[in-house]
Symmetry: C2
Amino acid sequence: MEGDETVEETALRELKEETGIEKVYLEQFHVFSKRGRDPRGPTLTIALFALIRSHQCKLFATGDASAAKWWPAYALPSLAFDHDQICAKALDALRAALKTRPLAFELLPKAFTLYQLQDLYEQVFGTSIDKRNFRKKVQKMDFICASGKKTEGGRQRPAMLYYYDAKRYTKFANEHFF
Amino acid sequence: MEGDETVEETALRELKEETGIEKVYLEQFHVFSKRGRDPRGPTLTIALFALIRSHQCKLFATGDASAAKWWPAYALPSLAFDHDQICAKALDALRAALKTRPLAFELLPKAFTLYQLQDLYEQVFGTSIDKRNFRKKVQKMDFICASGKKTEGGRQRPAMLYYYDAKRYTKFANEHFF
DNA sequence: GCAAAAGTGTTAATCGTACACCCATGA
DNA sequence: TCATGGGTGTACGATTAACACTTTTGC
């Protein structure tokens, strides 16, 4: 941490320095402090995950000359110290977060198709979901709104583009929980 | 933090020093690092909540001469710095934890009645739950087991004592989620 | 035409919810 | 006898889960 930065500001700065990516959703998930986790001496690691919109991921690949690179979460290379455990816990935290809060919309473009949304959940949870049941459920969530526009230039039939309405979600959540 | 303690060890030591309570369940919920949260300068607070079994709470009241004291979460006294915000976030984290994991059993005696379990959920979530529906649901959870023993010396009809079986929970969770 | 995704309903089973009364104990 | 919790079943509505085919587009 530099100057009087907060944890989140530090993470955003480092992420931008290493990958060029900015303006992402950040969430803390654990502080690692076990003895011996770094042979150089006692350390405290405050771990956060960042959610990066899918269309921004390619910017990263064409970034500067740093060693940063994408890896699938289920096939990481071997990492220094206890960083493999940190990544494993990050995945758990991500799944728990996606189950209980509307964070899928931080991973998709602002305008997305229902296929993209379903695919996201299937990939994160490693399940397959029935398309009709999924769409039926989405229709009941009035914070997922059809924009009226459709995809263009895809290899397939144009699909309706949806967007996430955070204000409607708040109302929805207040009515459905507690 | 002293010596090469972990965050959890520090919290357990401090808790014991201040209140005499030990061997509790601890869980991290947030790191507070906002500028200006402590006028004395930049600080980093790693916040944890502890779950203390109800029958151990009275030990606390008869503890040493420290200023530690029980307060209801919905009527806290005014606290230093941003500690009111930390407590508010602790309550949120506690509710989220109790909804998604079997942590109620860290708050009850090892042997508990169904009334105690229901009362716990009602108090934490501020709701009232139908007794018959609650018991029906508990019956389906085979990790909540009748011990065969009953309460003695209460003011009421003796009640069956139940216990939590962590191994069965693991099996149950694997079958019911994902 | 073919590959890829878009879109669309019905049925059966399960789950959640609402609801009221008698019982055993200690004070 | 009274206060306090202990203990029990049913019926209705809502939700979930299983399941297959036609459409539109680019190549």
